[in-house]
Amino acid sequence: MSKLPQIIADKFLSELGQADDITDEQIEALRKLLEGGKKLKPADIENIFAPIEVSDL
């Protein structure tokens, strides 16, 4: 019924995508999360910005 969340999500991704420190891949991953219809989990967001690398282990 309310379209506001979708409007906010689109604007958020659009504005964030213009930042130099954010990659296209990160934006797409965020888009998938936001469009997934599930409640966002902090760990999912962390994993987008700081993926666990094998070399770190």
Binding site: M1, P5, I8, F12, E15, D21, K41, F49, A50
Partner: protein
């Protein structure tokens, strides 16, 4: 989204059996408190959503639809409790029958059942806010700004925005913490390298100077440039295990650890002091302590409310919204606990940095102890044990509960230096010191090997820090951007709501607050509300406005929010005794407000004030056909319905059974209602009673006198305007009412007690039937035959007209001047 055509209720709440024909029109239900009105709203709400709000939310612990939804005599037979609704779906231009039973509230039987219809009805089920009760409306007005923001966002289905923002904030905080950890690691690696190289700052020329001094000694080529891939020990030795012990470097590492251990009591002393103060605060307030203990549990639980079932017992959620609201309320109560938790966590984070540093020193010396040249296994194990203890402690203080549990350790020396550590380190130092000095060649080889090892550590740490920094920057950017976008969009939304709210309130109070305006002040997670008080400035709603006005604000704000939520699809609202919130002076404007601003919305309203119900008719909000009165209720029968049309049938039925006393009671009750209402409609003046307990003998003669007087004025006014048609109409009606009143013997009540209504029960059937007929005739004359609304004076104090809702009757009372 939908409108109601008819309602059939069986064995629900206080209702045994009830049918209502709404025909997609506004509908009013009146009746005294406890007569079953709210049960109708509950049943409709249940039919649409499968839920009953009155059985959920704060103050309803122990109540449930399954146990308390059925009529009290049918609790064990939930299948007997059900609601059938005939609803109209404008988007599909189709009428549909739906049935929902208490036995299976989630199951909706639909006829016809198509995917499109089910989609619409699923959307309807997701909107319990179409039902508004008196207790609901204050949720928007008399609440803390943070609560108001939450309530409004919940109503507007914007909860997920708050969830998303919270997730982004948590992710941002965690990424910042990861960055701090990475920075700490880099600093430790850097210090370790500087210590080994015996230089004060990490500049490539200083590193290369130290490295090339050894390489020269070993006859190796010099390194001119230090880049990320430079190997400083290249070509230095074949036996790498032997080359990693350097006596001089080992002695310096040991010296640093000894110096740190000597001053260990000073490490983190400021942080410890503040942490202990925080713990003391918690110990002095048991409630706060419990809240902190529960907070993390509740936060975790909140995250787990996702999907149709409980992740612990795998059973479907009983009432997901109720649980969510309950946990939200608990979390809000723990704001102070949250602030204290946040501060303590920040201090614990600093202590973790100190531990990382100490662990780094311990690692260096433990490696020395394990070197084959030293082989001090016992001492190495002692250092490892302390390191393990420190790391466990570090992990423990990462939670508030763990931190509180370590109170004694904070008081007695939080780093818990083992008693014999000095001795163990001294042993290692002696063993190192006892070794013969390494040959210059061996020392140079081991020096380069250790340099390379620590340089690698530093490079890895720095790369990890760089990644952590990028991640933290991205996390902060994401959170800030989301907050900015959210704030901007919500500000626009709030401005729209604020304007509509102000407009509706002005319309409701046009007589004395026609310049009213309101101001929303949104901030992070909160929404302040101030309202203008007679142009003296903006104040909180409860500051100067009366409770009645505050109630009016609640309704207006609700309407503004619903307009924003549904737009043109705001087609149904169920108001359970909400209209009582509107004070008597503004009820007409309230009806006008609904009609003017929401002409396509079907309002189903209940009120315990029958006069108010009649005012809704007068204002044209409802008609006699779309209103219903409950006169009483019993647990066996449910609501007893009374209506203008049915009352005569009810009386006739009683008389047919020879029950004159029942018929007499029904007639008297109806006349009381009629006379009260008619006095109000006409502005009649019964003899004043301070206690307000007017009897039928006070009211009915006053109403008759008033209408006779007004019709006389109408005839005179028509005469002055030479309007013979109007004059005749007024005169004839006045005459008819007088004749009917005489037939009903009303005027003789005062002089002949045997004819008084109090004596009706003692009359025989044949004697009472003419009385009933006379009153029926009399009462009909007070109503318009076209629209069935009662005649009313307008305005009441100094009437200028006497008319009905459709204006088929419209007597001018002003004479030509």
């Amino acid at each position: 989204v939908i409108q109601l055509e008819s309602v059939h209720i069986e064995e629900m709440r206080g209702i045994r059996l009830l049918d209502l024909n709404l025909n997609r029109k506004n509908f009013a239900i009146s009746g005294p408190n406890g007569s079953g009105k709210s049960g109708v709203i509950d049943a409709i709400e249940f039919g649409l959503t499968g839920e009953i709000k009155r059985l959920a939310g704060s103050g309803t612990k122990g109540l449930s639809v399954s146990e308390h939804g059925p009529h009290v005599d049918k609790v064990k037979f939930p299948g007997a409790s059900f609601v059938e609704l005939r609803v109209y779906l404008p988007t599909l231009a189709q009428s549909v029958s739906i049935k929902r039973s208490i036995q299976n509230p989630k199951k909706l039987e639909i006829i016809p059942d198509t995917k499109e219809i089910r989609t619409v009805l699923d959307a309807v089920a997701n909107h319990p806010e179409v039902t508004l009760s008196r207790r609901d409306i204050m949720r928007f007005i008399l609440v803390e700004p943070s609560k108001r923001s939450q309530e409004i966002q919940t109503l507007l289905k914007l909860d997920e925005l708050g969830d998303t923002r919270a997730a982004l904030k948590t992710a941002q905080n965690r990424l910042q913490q990861s960055l701090r950890n990475a920075q700490s690691q880099t600093l430790n690696a850097k210090n370790s390298l500087l210590l080994h190289l015996q230089i004060s700052e990490l500049r490539s020329e200083l590193v290369l100077e130290s490295v090339n001094e050894r390489r020269t000694l070993l006859g190796l080529t010099l390194i001119n440039e230090l880049v990320a891939t430079t190997k400083v020990d290249i070509d230095s030795a074949a036996d790498t295990s032997a080359s990693k012990f350097n006596k001089v470097s080992a002695q310096k590492d040991i010296d640093v650890l000894q110096a740190e251990v000597a001053d260990i009591d000073k490490l983190g002393s400021d942080e410890i002091k503040e942490i202990l103060q925080g713990i003391a605060r918690l110990e002095s307030d048991a409630g706060l302590f419990i809240m902190i203990q529960q907070r993390s549990l509740i936060e975790k639980g909140f995250e787990l409310i996702e999907g149709p079932t409980c992740p612990l017992c795998d059973l479907p959620w009983g009432d997901e919204e109720h649980l969510r609201a309950h946990l939200t309320e608990k979390l809000e109560k723990s704001t102070e606990a949250a602030e204290l938790t946040s501060r303590i966590s920040s201090l614990a984070s600093k202590l973790s940095g100190i531990i990382d540093n100490t662990v780094g020193r311990l690692n260096m010396v433990a490696n020395i102890a394990r070197a084959k040249e030293i082989d001090a296994k016992v001492e190495a194990r002692a250092l490892d044990d302390w390191k393990t203890d420190l790391l466990l402690f570090r992990k423990g203080i990462s939670t508030t509960e763990g931190l509180i549990a370590e109170k004694v350790r904070f008081e007695k020396g939080w780093l818990a230096l083992p008693k014999d550590l000095h001795e163990k380190v001294n042993t290692i130092e002696k063993l190192v010191g006892a070794l013969p000095d390494q040959s210059a060649i061996t020392a140079a080889q081991s020096f380069l090997a250790i340099t390379q090892e620590r340089l690698d550590d530093f490079r890895k740490s720095r790369q990890a820090e760089e990644r952590a920094k990028k991640a933290a920057t991205a996390g902060k950017l994401a959170y800030d951007t989301y907050c900015n976008v959210l704030e901007s969009e919500l500000n626009t939304l709030y401005e729209d709501v604020q304007n509509d709210f102000s407009l509706y309130y002005r319309q409701l109070n046009e007589d004395d607050e026609d310049t009213f305006n309101a101001k929303f002040t949104p901030s992070e997670g909160a929404l302040g509300l101030d309202v203008n008080f007679y142009e003296r400035g903006l104040f909180p709603p409860a500051a100067y406005h009366s409770e009645g006005h505050q109630d009016g604000m609640g309704v207006c704000l609700y309407l503004a929010l619903m307009k924003r939520l549904f737009g043109d699809n705001f087609l149904l609202a169920l108001f359970d005794d909400v209209v009582m919130s509107v004070d008597a002076d503004h009820r007409y404007q309230f009806c006008k407000l609904l009609k003017a601003n929401f002409p396509h919305t079907q309002f189903v309203l209940t009120t315990h004030d029958r006069v108010w119900a009649e005012q809704m008719k007068s204002a044209g909000l409802v008609t006699s056909k779309t209103s219903l009165a409950f006169h009483s209720w019993s647990v066996d029968t449910g609501p007893m319905v009374e209506s203008n049309k049915e009352i005569w049938e009810e009386i006739a039925a009683s008389l047919a059974k020879g029950k004159v006393e029942v018929a007499a009671a029904s007639l008297r009750r109806h006349l009381e209602y009629f006379a009260t209402h008619q006095c109000d409609q006409l502005g009649a003046h019964p003899q004043f009673r301070a206690d307000g307990n007017y009897e039928l003998g006070d009211l009915l003669p006053a109403a008759l006198s008033r209408i006779s007087n007004l019709l006389g004025k109408a005839a005179d006014a028509a005469q002055s305007w030479s309007d013979t048609v109007a004059k005749d109409k007024a005169t004839n009606l006045r005459k008819d009412i007088g004749t009917a009143a005489n037939a009903a013997l009303v005027e003789q009540w005062a002089v002949n007690k045997s004819l008084h209504y109090n004596e009706w029960a003692n009359l025989g059937k044949k004697d009472f039937e003419p009385v009933v007929a006379a009153f029926r005739q009399l009462l009909n004359l007070f109503h318009c035959a076209t629209c069935d609304s009662p005649l009313h004076a307008s305005p009441k104090a100094r009437p200028e007209s006497l008319r009905c809702a459709c204006n088929a009757h419209n007597f001018n009372l002003n004479k030509k001047v």
